[in-house]
Symmetry: C2
Subunit: 562 residues, 2 copies
Amino acid sequence: MKIAIAQFNPTIGDLTGNAQKILELAHQASKNQAQLLLTPELSLCGYPPRDYLFRSSFIDAMSKQLMALAQQFPPELTGLVGLATANSQAKEKGEKPLHNTIAVIQNGEILYYFHKRLLPTYDVFDEARYFQPATVTKGFTLKIEQQENVVPVNVGVTICEDLWNDEAFWGQRNYQQNPLEELVQQGVDLIVNLSASPYRVEKQQLREAMLSHSAKNYALPIIYANQVGANDDLIFDGSSFAVNQTGEIVSRGISFQETLLLAEYSSQQSDLIPTTITPMIDDSNAEIWEALVLGVQDYARKCGFQQIVIGLSGGIDSSLVAAIARSALGANNVLGVLMPSPYSSPSSLADAEALVHNLGISSTTLSIEPAMNAYDEILSLLFAGTEFGVAEENLQSRIRGNLLMAIANKFNYLLLSTGNKSEMAVGYCTLYGDMNGGLAVISDVPKTRVYSLCRWLNQNQEIIPENVINKPPSAELKPDQQDQDSLPDYQLLDRILDCLIHQHQAPEEIIAAGFDEKTVNQVTQLVRKAEFKRRQAPPGLKITDRAFGSGWRMPIASKIDY
Amino acid sequence: MKIAIAQFNPTIGDLTGNAQKILELAHQASKNQAQLLLTPELSLCGYPPRDYLFRSSFIDAMSKQLMALAQQFPPELTGLVGLATANSQAKEKGEKPLHNTIAVIQNGEILYYFHKRLLPTYDVFDEARYFQPATVTKGFTLKIEQQENVVPVNVGVTICEDLWNDEAFWGQRNYQQNPLEELVQQGVDLIVNLSASPYRVEKQQLREAMLSHSAKNYALPIIYANQVGANDDLIFDGSSFAVNQTGEIVSRGISFQETLLLAEYSSQQSDLIPTTITPMIDDSNAEIWEALVLGVQDYARKCGFQQIVIGLSGGIDSSLVAAIARSALGANNVLGVLMPSPYSSPSSLADAEALVHNLGISSTTLSIEPAMNAYDEILSLLFAGTEFGVAEENLQSRIRGNLLMAIANKFNYLLLSTGNKSEMAVGYCTLYGDMNGGLAVISDVPKTRVYSLCRWLNQNQEIIPENVINKPPSAELKPDQQDQDSLPDYQLLDRILDCLIHQHQAPEEIIAAGFDEKTVNQVTQLVRKAEFKRRQAPPGLKITDRAFGSGWRMPIASKIDY
């Protein structure tokens, strides 16, 4: 039996468009003699639909769309489609109003509804906000023809997190219930997992290791179908795969692209047998690169932008973002804006121009000096007797931010902001200045990773000018300024930030691990004090397990030393 | 027996400072012969501590702080103190790592820990992200002296949401469990509820109606102790109270201020008996006014600002915010900045000056024309042949935003943004322009409420100049511009917005209710398209049950018609 995985890129809320895509993939699956089509979690509305789920009209529309889809579905194909459904006993029993559901459709009818059991409430996930968890996990029987006999195959249905509780793999329980064990006890032949699992660096290795462990442990094949595409800060990498009962990968789809992946179940062998196995991306830089390109592409497309504008300082961050933008929308659709001030070094302009040349994008150069003079004039009385300081530095950044937004507004371009995660962490960036933009492309990429991405990008030909990579980083907001005048060396900074942000460590723990006390305390204070900036940052593409986005929930007005 | 309620204003994370405040109130309670001191939910760390809870060092520090507090506590006083505690069986049982706990301290020891049962996951609440709910609700026995006898009083302990499931009151179950009924079955004499319940308009009426209903229904007195003070977007009004077994209010504390409220339990009557009953604020405008003043005051204080800067356009929004700022920090600590352009009407300047005079705040006037000319010059080539439009309008707003931020940065002032909820909803505001600020004071106040607040404020003397209230609203970003050229009348707009935002209605439902189709569709589109602006807005003080803050979780890249 062939099983097709519709790894497609939904637009949040676009029920008609998403159903159309599912239908196209269903016909393609039919042509390939597939008997079962799997679609990702909440495939009809896209994941995450967030507070759109509070609209009862939206939930009703989803039900209707499912019915319409069922009626148009190829007759020989059984489909698993994700949607949110109303929990009819919510008010009577004091439960949440919705379920996160997979519907089984066949021959114009809806045969079963399966509800998600384990609802994630960590990081970016808010599923307890909307959904009532199922109390049981079950499956359905698919009748397949095998050499003129009709053979029943029992398919256990799990939704994303439902499989993330393999106690032996994790060394602890993550949830009180274990849907996998229940399905094993029910004697299923095959488990399918319909997911919308966001990307982070090397997440696919973890998924495959985990499901390979579970499959082997229970001698039960598992098919994992994942959403692809980016929705605001979250990038879904797809990377759908199948693992047989000995824990071997027998099918794998491409990452970061829409695809119809075919898996095959042999009822004679009671196991999945090998089909296409696309090689896994074996380099974390390549993986992050593809994630960020998809992130920019989808944000632009789903928000209705055809073109991108970026401020080019000649520095490494804006250079990397410009390269990503070019890959996302094409060189013809990227405008780089060079905005020199009297503090800009001649080499910065030359570096930015070299980048423009390497990328083949268009560019324009706007001197910000007239605006600097105008602000000086306007503020001369009020600022009389004060020294040049952060106010004046920020003004330059904000003039640039205004010019970029004026261009974005005038020509309907998407402005990308270019700050990296290290800067965002310590607040080495200007709110309403260089933080401006619809999307913060590398705000989850630490500075040290920015360097490694650029070196990786240059491995075959120079894309990022070498001087951009080799010169000491500088904001160039005052004469002879360098980042390292205000901040620790980025290698050291990124290690401390990892302890603070990813490991949730207190300063004293980091100091006890051997880091310099003064530096740790300085960085800790900077991170806390920059919270007001991060709160107003554009959505930033998430590539780690702890980004400054929808999964980062910190108070601003606070006092903490622990 | 006297029971003291420590309605105090914690700073998030400040364990030492919060413990010190609790101790001071404990001594005051002792002096008043109280035997029991109640503090709000999570009183040691303040509510909501958000992701600080992920730091195990923070949880450890809380335990130590509790122990230290217990040892310093007056010996004759029993204290109920809120903190987060580790769930020791989390990994073994697959549970969340923490509990939301109330500890009972007495004579230098910690006698009991009670954990919260019903964890809210709606609106601004994320408690399932951190906490494992308790499976039982219990109480403890307090021995009190009554006419030379020692009488036991059984006190049932509930934490905030634990009491928000009175099925008869709500007409439905909100949660599967009902802690109140369990306590009744255990035969408690008195129920205490330790809360951190955020303010919204007329929430106190709801709390009192609900607990009065529960108390009467079960013939059981209830004491409600609430946090006071603002933490970022959330304002806690305090308004602690006690209700006797016939459902009458017998004690009520002041709203929006720290206080030690005394309640009294008579073991002879097995009921609470009357003490201080502060009248409830009986006017929604007065209530909102006090909430917003406290919100500004606490944000400034807890972030370390002594002074405020505001751009004054002569319009009603900035006028109201300036009046709030003056009440929060005093006239000497508010700077109003008038920034006329060639499009500003002379009356706008005059109105702003009249406001400055009425408020007695200082002001400065900065013409933005030199900066407008500078940007025109810089962009002349790039914008050649295009018409004056949104780009140019936004530039004016952004020049003003830059000037305000320059002043804020130079003198360490807190910049307040002045946009109202109706504008924020439809995007009638400029990102990186008039949206600039550390705190959005009235971003949850609809325009129609802005008018009623100003009229209320003027009831005894003119504070907001009458011309500001009476003239048609205008952004003055082009000649003869008025808000109503681009938007429906605010009365109509606010009614449609209420349907969309508060009632979660679809456009077709609103049209079916009798609103003009074209207007409803226009407003719906504007609201959806302004999501990218709201995402980057400063935290806004919440005064309704659906604000654009931590409880508003919407996708940006989306397509929805339902």
